[in-house]
Amino acid sequence: MAGMVVIGAGQAASQLVASLRTEGYAAPITVVGDEPYPPYQRPPLSKKFLSGELAEDRLYIRPAEFYEQAGAALMLGVRATRVDLEAKTVTLATGDRLAYETLAFTTGSRVRRLTTPGADLPGIFYLRGIADVKAIQPHFQAGKRIVIVGGGYIGLEVAAVAAKRGLKVTVVEALERCLQRVTSKLMSDFFEGVHREAGVTILTSTGVHGFKAGANGTVIVETAGPQLEADLVVAGIGILPEQEVAQAAGLVCENGIVVDEFARASDPNVYAIGDCSNHPNPLLGRRLRLESVQNAIDQAKAAAAAICGKPKPYAEVPWFWSDQYDLKLQIAGLSMLGDDLVVRGDPASRKFAAFYLRAGAVAAVDAVNAAPEYMIGRMMIAQKKQVDPAKLADPSVPMKALMG
């Protein structure tokens, strides 16, 4: 029996295997992954794995025995190069061909690469996989100068680990502020302040023009501002959906593989899950492409249910987190969907939350060391809860009281 072929061996693939078996899927499952590792967690890569606090085997989402017991074959270190939707086959880089009855793309995303001159010099790194971190780690030594291109979550998380390790850290951001594409000016100002306090130099509105080899293996970074000399450069300038094989096969792709609320792509036998999928979110009333663990897990559950003939729409409030220094940032919803900002608590106390309201209802929350605000905020978003902004802004009014 042809069964299920899953292209991509990350968070979504691991969850899909688990959920398919829970839902009663009985046919064989084959998971094809181009990295040599079994499905692993990516969030710690720029945090505790980079810092060395977490060993590699602790990244693995499930042990090898799980896949054995689930009857899921992992084909690792091999790339799927072509899909034939008519013949229902997947061709691998080895030339082998796998037949499928149902196909899932859990291909995730790949880093956006620098296109500036000199971007291929040694000493310039990206951070997406285990291998990337292993390449960076030998250079991650106290006293070394690191230039981080891009002040998004990845860049700032790397900056936090580097600063704690004692590297001399400079973050170069082309936009006016760090985290500009993902959050409000209030949060950007807060995180920039935290990093500056930790000794990180942050240059905003500073595009990178190119790279040159310096003396002794250093990299000269030419920017719109000062010229910087670095022992290593890490670029975190965003990720792109890994959709080329799907697109070449003829599946509809538009900023991700286009799927419906059951994770079904434009071919009835094909699903796309996680970072690589562009899906509708009925709660938010719009299509999204999300880069998050939550999305990989919850969409995989919805896909498994649909594949097993028990379709249940995928409709969850997106959530994310970031760890930097002593700060746990927990995010629910999409702040860009809010019109009004309500701040609860004092950012200077390093414990506060920013709520984003749309037509009087909570649309998103960024909570720093503030779990109640995050957890209740998430419920409020799901319920489109109307709140009194004055009460929401008053930390003496318990969050639970606002749900009543």
């Binding site: 967690q41 969030p43 710690p44 602790r58 989402i61 499930r62 042990p63 025995e65 799980f66 017991q69 663990v293 939550q294 897990i297 959530w319 987190w321 760890d323 746990k328 927990q330 060391n369 779990a371 109640p372 957890m375 209740i376």
Partner: protein, 106 residues
């Protein structure tokens, strides 16, 4: 290695050895104990690794951080023995630990 017994909400027991330094959550995942999702992988961000710690081990499992306590406040079926298993580090003292899993994570 310390032995930990995980009891599913159905009463099914899993007694396994877990290396010190790992968390009680990781011990469950590595040994295929169902009922602990741990969506966030141990970042104390999702409250899907909720367990009830046997009273005899309450002191040995350490103090709850404020973050853990507040995350637990919003989990289902919480009582005074509730913990997030990703926040309990396995130590030699935890040999014989018994944790029960809530039905809501089934």
């Amino acid at each position: 290695m310390p032995k930990i017994t995980y009891i599913e909400h159905t009463g099914k027991e899993h007694t396994v050895e877990v290396a010190t330094g790992l968390t009680v959550m990781e011990g469950a995942i590595k040994n295929l104990v169902p009922g602990i999702d741990a969506d966030c992988g141990g970042a104390c961000a999702c409250a899907t690794c909720h367990v009830y710690v046997d009273a005899a081990f309450a002191a040995k499992t350490g103090e709850k951080s404020d973050m853990e306590q507040t995350m637990l406040d919003f989990a289902n079926e919480v009582n005074e023995t509730s913990r997030l298993s990703c926040q309990i580090k396995v130590t030699p003292e935890l040999d014989g630990l018994v944790v029960r899993l809530p039905a809501s994570q089934h």
